[in-house]
Amino acid sequence: MSHSDKMWVKKDLPVRVQNLGFLLLGVGLAAGITGLFIDAHRFMMNYLIAFMLLVSIGAGSLFMVALEYIAGADWSVPVRRINEFYAASVLFIIILAIPVLMNMESVFHWAQPQAVSEDKILKWKAPYLDTTFFIVRILVAGGIWSLFYSLLSRNSKTQDLTKDQNLTRKNIILSAIFVPIFAITVSVVSIDWLMSVEPHWFSTIYGVYFFSGSVLASLAIVTYTTVWLKEHGYLHPRMTNDHLFSLGALLFAFINFWAYIAFSQYLLIWYANLPEENFWFIQRWEGGWMIMSILLIVIHFLVPYSVLLSQPAKMDPKRLKFASLWILFAHVFDLYWLVMPSYHSEHSTGFFTYILEFGFPIAAIGLLILLFYFKTKKNNLIPIGDPKLDKSLNFRL
């Protein structure tokens, strides 16, 4: 590595990034908390959406880090740190879960003892849908993710200084152990925190559905960050649009993967038309939800699919920035679509509350920006000690 390569090491991000983070966090929290005073039940469910957004980006990013190691990918090395920074949000999962855990009965129908006693199916499920066991599960999942995040990122950071190849080897082993555990934990968390919002409903594909969305969301935020950093000269000058192509292609692949999983789930339930399952989709086809369901297909599939279909589009920085922000919004929309039909209001709260509903997700994005900002203060933006870095920077399509 030559001396000129050092120019991008430890360059501070502008303060406006920090300001933007604080602004979004502040405005978002203010809106969300105002909402809590208007309709606590509804805004706790909103909080759940924001919480799951952070879970999906944290766990999804951690998965992408692990995937690079076990797949032996080269091209992604210069952007891996960005993934690592966002993956740090898994450290906050347990803390951020507390507000929900304190309001279990408001969010989860099955957590109300009276509801369970009147309902045969909920009684049957009681051994699993049990508040204590539920808390244990999120503690275990959050704990495991934090552990693997700490180990993987520590090795990666140490490698910046030592350039020790053994650390790559160690991280490959860690990643190989992590991925199967991730598959189980992410399924359990998605069943617990999203599927059980409608406690009678069940679908075996649900874990895969959430996985596809969470990888997509973390890819989107990483793509946006990469393009932004590259445009502002924070990434390595030898990084070209060819590197961006892979991000664009992965985004495109996961858009299709999500659509495939969503379609499979829908078609099978629609076709069999069993009342024990189809009520979930009927709920999402009643009243205003019909428009939301159609919009979900447009927003989450048709638009990003068309935007990223062509080969030049996948490496066009402008296009990628648009697509990744769009997909991030689509993911929040998807989470909203998964959670909110289970909210039943007795009284109309007006248009103002709809606006406030953006609060918690915006706060979550603010939190991610701040997390990223503070991570860059202490760490290199590129894993400069990674043995694959040079090979990676030579990468051309």
């Binding site: 190989a176 075996t204 895969v208 495939y260 789930q265 099978l268 024990e276 043995p387 090979k391 030579n394």
Partner: protein, 455 residues
Amino acid sequence: MNIDYSKEDIIVSGRLSIAQIEDLIAKPLETKVDKKFLIALSVSVTALMIGAISLGFSLLYGTGLWGNNQPVGWAFPIVNFVFWVGIGHAGTLISAILYLLRQKWRNGIARFAEAMTIFAVMTAGIFPIIHTGRPWLAGYLFPYPNQHSLWVNFTSPLIWDVFAVSTYFTVSFVFWYVGLIPDFATMRDRTKEGIRKTIYKVFSLGWRHSHRNWQHYEKAYMLLAGFATPLVLSVHTIVSFDFAVSIMPGWHTTIFPPYFVAGAIFSGFAMVVTVLIFVRKIFDLEHLITIDHLEKMNKIILATGMMVGYAYAMEFFIAWYSGNQTESFVFVNRAFGPYAWAYWIMVSCNVIFPQFFWIRKLRRSIPVMFIIVIFVNVGMWFERFVITITSLHRDFLPSSWGYYRPTLYDFGILLGSFGLFFTLVILFTKALPVVSIAEIKAVADDAQPSHHGDH
């Protein structure tokens, strides 16, 4: 073990020159058949003949010769169909998906795997047609305006299968042929005179290895890979719909599509490894299809095996969680009922044995991987058996419960399907270059300037 991660992977070992590679691959086509070839061919043709005789009797006397009964109406034919279609998936995954993922190591094995896809789909296609009992009426599977006003049931996934599988076969075949064109040209240029030269000439479509040729070729190849990728996923997805759109407990579950696709890739890779172990040895291709290749495939087997295991576990969990009595019964019956033996063969072969591949030494050892991939082949056949038979033999009405026993004719036809597949594979090794000459040259040492110069 010390791996230098900063170096590029070496795909062709032994520092072979471009000319040596070409000679090596062309050798089986330019030498006379030997004893080994004839023995292998006669074994597989014997199997094929046994199948043909079993099938001949079945057509003569009717499908009553098979074990299919009430309530198990779907038996061996469906099991074998799903098994063989699944085998085909590895080929397209290697040739198209790994190509789009820029996995250069796939260049050494893509041709062979894709040929296996085509043969496996051909083998698979036989079963639904004979299962209809009157295969001579198979033409009605295609919707066309006819004087009887007979139309297919468009809402049935079985008819989607007809479209999906035939489209898949066509695209796979075209993709395979397009990949073969430069190699046909190479063979044409190597051949002196005679009928062989004429055949190569015709099939090489006037290929001149010019820049223009390559430019068009690359574009066509990329597009076909892009077409083949959703197709391959759609095929096994629709095969899974055959089961999952019904309201049969044990069949109707939403995870079926990705679970079937993962299973198909799993079984297909096992079959590819099984065959390549022999091919690389017999045709001296150890430098082109290296232990590294096999190791990578074994890793994919490990990964997809765990995906399949995830699906088993998730089905079991949701069967309980749903609170649906019949669903829970079917799963308990699978694991502890009359077909428990088949279930545990499936679980141990598909989920437990592949775990040995966690250990690097074992996934790089030829005897060990051979044993494990054979287990996987067996296990994946049993998976389809378990899904089909256990759900049917005890359905909603206990008075009509039954037990299914295959007959000798069922086994004969199953054996025959292996015979057909391996006969085609063996003939292929003598008829066409088993490794893509053009593609392997692109990843040979001489084609990698970065191996030598430092940056």
